[in-house]
């Protein structure tokens, strides 16, 4: 039965319910007496609310309640928090403005809620919301970074003069400057990292139910981390106490980071359920998702790399402006700092690095972690610089990278990270072989005779997953610990339930986590159930993001399994009258080595619960829990190469080939890993070629629907050729590194490097739409 253990491409257990339409998402949940919420949202990006008239709305059919921002403030519901404190270079703290769940006075982005209508039906709520009359006085708007930092820019929050939230640095400035002075060559680039809209398949939703008799709340919500939601809602928002609040995140249709955060809508639903004494449901529509789900990326960067006469990198200097939108979302502050600048060493031995990051407020939707969160931006900076340097220095881009690769481990970078293990050369070799790198010049020449512009682009990414050692992140300003917890429950009949604080919203945990357990015990995965997403069932948890579920979540299960197995072995030894040390677990049986004596797992479990014949002093039961705190980040890395062709008549890019060679450490389920890589690559390619959130100067989101926001479709993407080169992560018991974000982190630089190679012009911003590529060619 090892066939279902680690390393087996087992078909996903959860897919039966998903593909037969029997998943259970928040919107599917039916509760007696349910009411429906519809938010009144600001059409303006920056305005003062002069008055709100709710009288007409209150009288509309079916209306149960109309609540405004002033009421939420009057009820002392806490402002939204940011969970990671960043200290500026001058030693001051973050300049954070208040974010009430509904705006009482000033709205700072188009789509911000100012009131909510609760009614018997969704349509009645919507009708009544149209009857709420809000009188706005429009204020001047700063809709992007440049507009926000220019002298005399509109001021968003009084707390943040000049709209600057923090001005943070990392690395040694003087040493870096000195290395630049001494450099033989310097390469520099101005980079825009385009803003993205996450667009999970399932829009956000919440159902809140208040039980008056028990003063108890239940919140069903689309969350990647229900325990974190419970903690934040109770500790900071004064709506419910932690022991009086159950948060359930049932099936969730994709998150990509955007469902980490606790949003105003969930808070309002919870608060309103007590106010109107009825269960309240809100299901966002796609338009609301565009306007209110935290966006991703949005950096302006100037980056320079210094080389000595042997083409060795001697220094890297980076200055980045990060757009955090109108308010600081839950982890927004950490994304352009500790999740970005700490990865600027890439796969390279760079003795001196200095980075400065200035985060600013703009009149746009808040920006926070989105698949990769800081690491795609870092990887893009480093890999665009490497490619540009190779062209400037007239050396082969693969060779320039190879010459600068880190080859001994552990390796301490100048920007906090200590890489534990890797083999960057192996990934690059694998990718170069897969794409026939050596044959490219001939292919390019042939394409040219056919009037086509062909290019090749490399990206050697590294990222940090398995976030993270609690003590380390605590010292860097994190407000939480980033361990994970698990409980292994062996039932009296020998079936197993694993309770995990990780949350699956597409990752396939119900299969992969079961594989770990099934493999260790030698039982089929059908005997193992994964329980997650409910704070009443699962003891505690920190949730799923940053590709942490295998490295951290499964490590916790591993630890709990060890405890369970140790106890089970004791029971088996007692039953078999053998020594505990002689017991081995095989094919679901506890065997005495070298004999034919054995006892099956169900009999051991039964013995644990009947407790008729246990070793002296042993507690009954077979159930153990564990908390696992990582020892380090994990460092997935790899090499992506793509070959593309540009139609110079239209500027359209098509893929000839895309190869990915990743090192994820142990692969739990190679099929699921492949799916994760495909999805990540789609998002990375999406960023490079298709996706980009655009605001006009008045702060209106121009790309507020799929008519204008280009989501990648299957036919935009090539058939990927994947391979794996493996170094096992020494930091966790499974040797896993994480694979959820790699594609989104590594792909975009490969694509832009290939297009700029094809057109012979390095001035190209993402998304490299046909229009932009055509202009880059023709002016």
């Amino acid at each position: 039965m090892g066939v279902e253990g680690i390393g087996a491409s087992v078909v996903r257990k959860e897919d039966r319910r998903f593909v037969t339409g029997r998943g259970r998402y928040v919107d599917d949940i039916k509760i007696v007496g349910l009411t429906h919420a519809h938010f009144v949202r600001s059409p303006h990006a920056h305005a003062k609310i002069k008055s709100i008239d709710i009288a007409a709305a209150k009288g509309m059919p079916g209306v149960v309640g109309v609540l405004t921002g002033q009421e939420i403030v009057d009820d002392k519901v806490g402002n939204l928090i940011c969970g990671w404190a960043i200290t500026s270079k001058d030693g001051t703290g973050m300049k954070m403005g208040a974010w009430p769940a509904m705006a009482p006075e000033i709205v700072r982005f188009a789509g911000q809620a100012v009131a909510v209508v609760i009614a018997e039906t969704k349509n009645q709520a919507r009708d009544a919301a149209e009857a709420v009359v809000v009188d706005y006085e429009e204020l001047p708007v700063a809709s992007d970074i440049r507009a926000a930092i220019k002298p005399g820019a509109p001021q968003l929050h009084p707390e943040a003069p000049g709209n600057v939230i923090y001005d943070w640095t990392i690395g040694e400035e003087a040493a870096t400057d000195a290395a630049f002075k001494a450099a033989a060559n310097v390469v520099s680039l101005d980079i825009t990292n385009n803003r993205l809209v996450p667009n999970a398949m399932e829009p956000r939703a919440a159902i809140a139910e208040y039980n008056d008799a028990e003063e108890h709340f239940t919140l069903y919500t689309t969350s990647q981390n229900p325990h974190v939601a419970r903690l934040v809602l109770s500790a900071f928002y004064n709506i419910a106490q932690e022991h009086k609040l159950r948060v359930v995140a049932p099936d969730v249709g994709g998150g990509f980071g955007s469902k980490i955060f606790i949003y105003p809508e969930e808070m309002v639903a919870l608060w309103a359920s007590k106010k109107v004494r009825r269960p309240v449901k809100w299901t966002g529509d796609r338009s609301e998702a565009f306007l209110t789900d935290a966006h991703g990326r949005d950096h302006l960067t100037k980056a320079e790399m210094a080389f000595d006469k042997d083409n060795k990198v001697t220094a890297l200097r980076v200055k980045t402006y990060a757009n955090l939108g109108a308010y600081m979302s839950l982890f927004s502050s950490s994304v352009p700092t500790y999740l970005y600048a700490t990865l600027l060493s890439g796969q390279y031995n760079i003795p001196n690095i200095f980075a400065e990051v200035i985060s600013v407020y703009t009149n746009t939707t808040p920006v926070d972690a989105y698949r990769g969160a800081g690491r795609p931006e870092a990887s893009f900076v480093v890999e665009r610089l490497m490619e540009t340097a190779a062209r400037q220095l007239k050396v082969d881009p693969a060779e320039l990278r190879r010459k600068n690769f880190i080859t001994t481990f552990p390796h301490q970078t100048p920007v906090i990270m200590a890489y534990d293990v890797g083999d960057f050369g192996a990934s690059l070799d694998s990718a170069m072989k897969a794409i026939d790198y050596a044959g490219f010049p001939a292919r390019k020449a042939k394409a040219k005779t056919e009037g086509k512009l062909r290019g090749i682009g490399i990206s050697c990414y590294i990222e940090a997953c398995g976030i993270a050692p609690s003590k380390a992140v605590g010292s860097l300003g994190a407000g939480v610990g980033l361990w994970e917890s698990a409980e292994v429950r062996v039932n009296p009949v020998g079936t197993i339930e694993i309770l995990t604080g990780s949350h699956s919203h597409g990752q396939g945990h119900e299969t992969t986590f079961a594989q770990l357990v099934a493999g260790r015990l030698g039982i089929p995965i059908s005997q193992v159930s994964i329980v997650h997403g409910d704070t009443d069932k699962v003891q505690f948890g920190m949730g799923t993001y940053g590709s942490r579920s295998a490295a951290v979540g499964m490590s916790a299960i591993f630890k709990a399994m060890e405890k369970v197995e140790a106890k089970a072995k004791k029971i088996a030894a007692h039953q078999l009258e053998a020594s505990e040390a002689d017991i081995v677990i095989e094919n679901g049986e506890f065997k005495v080595t070298g004999t034919d004596k054995s006892i099956a797992l169900p009999m051991v479990a039964l013995a644990a619960y009947t407790a008729h014949n246990l070793p002296d002093g042993m507690e009954p039961g077979l159930k153990e829990g564990a908390f696992y705190d990582p020892t380090n980040f994990t460092f997935p890395a790899g090499a992506y190469i793509c070959e593309i062709e540009v139609d110079s008549g239209t500027g359209k890019t098509s893929f000839v080939n895309f190869v990915a060679a990743d090192d994820f450490g142990t692969l739990i389920n190679p099929m699921i890993v492949e799916g994760q890589v495909h999805g990540g690559l789609a998002q990375g390619i999406g960023q490079a070629l298709l996706e980009g959130a655009v605001y006009d100067s008045s702060g209106q989101l121009v790309t507020a629907s799929f008519m204008d926001y280009t989501m990648p479709r299957a036919d935009d993407l090539p058939s990927f050729k994947l391979s794996h080169t493996t170094t096992l992560c020494p930091g966790n018991p499974l040797g896993v590194k994480g694979c959820g974000e790699a594609g989104a982190i590594g792909a975009s630089a490969a694509v832009i490097n290939a297009i700029t190679d094809a057109i012979g012009n390095n001035k190209l911003e993402m998304p490299a739409s046909p229009d932009r590529v055509w202009h880059a060619i023709h002016g």
Binding site: S287, T650, D708, T710, S769, P770, D771
Partner: protein
Amino acid sequence: MYETTYHRPASVDEAAALFAKGSDSKYLAGGHTLLPVMKQRLASPSDVIDLGKIKDLVGIEPSGAGIVIKAATTHYDVANSDAVKKAIPALAHLASLIGDPQVRYRGTIGGSIANNDPAADYPAAVLALGATIKTNKRSIAADEFFKGLFTTALADGEIITAVSFPVQAKAGYSKFPNPASRFALTGVFVAKTPAGDVRVAATGASQNGVMRVPAIEAALKANWSAGALDNVTVSTDGLLSDIHGSSAYRANLIKVMAQRAVTAAG
């Protein structure tokens, strides 16, 4: 969606009578334009009159030297019609490029040209082929039908019953889809009449919707070949400029798509 009253008439006359009775009536064909707008609450017709079930409005018939496509015929049926493929393959090809399979199964030619979206595909074919729009009241020449963005010569309540396409000596369509919506960022339909006249229509490019392109027509009339357009410059005057393409880019696309349409036409 606001409340509305749905009607399913059996004939064109009944549909027109129902339309006249309603205070703010709308015809419904495939619903792929009207229903999204209603769901967004941007349209709130009192009465929705479904033309899709009227038998007389569905079907494709050869007629003399041309082909008649009835108004409620779906894009899918046009794309897969042997009669259309034989008579005007470029038209079947155009229909096959509209939207996605769901859109092609529901969307209709009558709905498309009545709506006259500036980025829709059919208007380019109707204009370049010199088709005639038949309504329950009259016949309208293509040159008289399209009146700018989302505007046509149709009177209030007038029903398109069919579009009659003449078969031309040569015809070709080339579309560059908008990467997001997949409507035409620019699509160009070229046609050469048996008498040697050339008609070229571009969609997606102009601020005023589908348009003829005289510079290209003249060059192709002199020499029907893609190469004949190499040195033609299309003016950017009146062309759209947005996040998907500048007016210069669209002017270029008009030329490049025209060249590819000529190559496709043979």
